[in-house]
Amino acid sequence: MTIAEIQDEIVEEFSMFDDWMQRYEYMIELGKSLPLIDEKYKTDDNLIKGCQSKVWVHAELQGDKLIFTADSDAIITKGIIAILIRVFSNQKPQDIIEADTDFIDKIGLKEHLSPTRANGLVSMIKQLKLYAVAYQTQLN
């Protein structure tokens, strides 16, 4: 699936819930099911700055696609990265770089996060894209 198709799918899933409590429950479930990052990658280098809870992200290239793994010490944050990983992982670096992230507005994620979390979300997307840029340079 393309990044756009995955985003549409997520928007549809979130639209099934009536209120934000249910959406949070769903995000928590996603967080719990997130494939964990290898412990050896939970280093300060992989820590995303700007998140008040801790977030580690690791990226590696498999073939021509970028695979992301991540973890957080807070479960709702983990749910948020789980969504981001679903969108961006297993995609070509160039596609990640060019991807829109309008699904975040569509599901109302940003407005339903505290400002610190919303900043964290922006930092996370920025970080994923930075990885993509780095690996794209490598591929070239």
Partner: protein, 408 residues
């Protein structure tokens, strides 16, 4: 038991914000240690100021300026009386506690030399650590820490041991923002004085709950923020003993702080104007006075008794939740409960509670050394005020239970 005259429903009506909704639920405001809400009586004073007599003070000959000056100076007298301060000029208006501490820390640069020591309690927030670290960097003085135990109480034996003749200054909060501990401040002050050290007490968290008597306490400096006690943000008090305030150099130049200025030399104004450079927060100062009037109309005895009952009730109810741990279990506490649930990040609990309309603080509460001490990333902090109710606490307990079920 709570005094029968304490009418919580009447009190709640004074706070318009308490009737609003958050996320479709009635607001439950339990972040009072960060800032308290403002009663209509204080809001009216603010509105009246801007509608009727907004003017710069101490310099105008016109009526508005005179009225504003009178009201501002009257507020100073209210603060003086409230804290039983000997002279009105020992009350310095500041923008708040942080400003007050920085004012003193800056002034102390000229009194400290290399090898002098300053003592800080282990339960300070950053505003009462960083300015002193900066002072130590400037002067070569050494910062030492008064340790605390797991209950969140200062280990007084260690404090007494630390007090040598090298110690020039001790700074400690009266009440801890993160733990609610009420420190044995009189003992701390007296021992420091015997050792020849001055004491600054950060009273920001104490002032909303305890009516401190400056002459009885005998602290050299005491700081207060108005917004934590029903007043507006951006205004506070530095109390300083006259002898100290006279010795300390001015902090900022300009405005009312001068006596005479020539390009060769400037002489400084008398207290308190020496420390009140520029145009002060006139409306804020007046409203601070109104906030004290409001709280005194309820009575600090009644407030303390009611809040103690809330604290006990909430502590009992929250501890019924399995896996919940309270940080800060000192014998003497104000109405602050800092807690975590085993295996759950405090942010997650705070986020779920917010969705239920319940405002708590999560994180390190600007007191990272305390979190390091307990080796936790932060806590959920519920801090109660005299306008909160047991029903609201029941809502918190239910919310925490719901969050726990969702998160674990």
């Amino acid at each position: 038991m709570i005094d029968a005259a304490y009418n919580i429903e009447t009190i709640r009506k004074d706070f318009p914000i308490l009737s609003r909704e958050v996320n479709g639920k009635p607001l439950v405001y339990f972040d009072n240690a960060a800032t308290s809400q403002t009663p209509q009586q204080v809001i009216d004073v603010i509105v009246d100021y801007y509608q009727r007599y907004n003017a710069n003070i101490h310099r105008g000959v016109h009526t508005l300026s005179q009225e504003a000056t009178d009201a501002y100076e009257e507020a100073r007298i209210k603060i003086q009386r409230h804290f039983n301060i000997a002279k009105p000029h020992e009350v310095i208006f500041t923008s708040g506690t942080t400003h007050a501490i920085n004012l003193v820390a800056n002034g102390f640069s000229s009194f400290l030399k290399k090898g002098d020591e300053v003592l800080v309690s282990a339960m300070e927030h950053h505003s009462n650590i960083v300015p002193w670290q900066m002072l130590c960097d400037r002067t070569g003085a050494v910062l030492k820490v008064i340790p605390m135990n797991l209950e969140g109480e200062l280990i007084m034996e260690e404090y007494h041991k630390l007090l040598s003749e090298k110690v020039k200054l001790v700074f400690c909060n009266h009440v801890s923002n993160a733990l609610g501990t009420v420190n044995p401040i009189k003992e701390i002050i007296d021992a420091a004085h015997r050792a020849g050290a001055a004491v600054l007490v950060d009273g920001a968290q104490a002032a909303p709950h305890i009516k401190a008597d400056m002459q009885a306490l005998d602290a050299d400096f005491y700081t207060v923020s108005a917004h934590k006690m029903c007043g507006p943000t951006g205004v506070g008090m530095l109390y300083g003993k006259k002898e100290w305030l006279q010795k300390l150099p001015p902090y900022q130049g300009g405005g009312e702080m001068i006596a005479e200025v020539t390009f060769e030399k400037t002489t400084y104004a008398d207290l308190p104007h020496k420390f009140e450079a520029g145009t002060p927060n006139v409306c804020g100062g007046i409203a601070f006075g109104a906030a004290l009037d409001y709280m005194n109309s309820i009575g600090f005895g009644a407030i303390a008794a009611y809040e103690h009952e809330l604290l006990q009730y909430a502590t009992e109810k929250l501890l019924e939740i399995e896996g919940l741990k309270i940080y800060g279990t000192a014998k003497e506490k104000t109405s602050v409960i800092s807690f975590n649930i085993e295996g759950v990040h405090p942010y997650d609990i705070g986020t779920i509670l917010d969705k239920l309309g319940i405002a708590v603080r999560t994180g390190h509460h600007c007191a990272q050394p305390i979190m390091d001490f307990y080796q936790i990333p932060g806590t959920v902090r519920a801090s109660f005020s005299f306008y909160n109710t047991k029903q609201e606490i029941d809502g918190l307990v239910e919310g925490v239970k719901r969050a726990k079920t969702m998160l674990l």
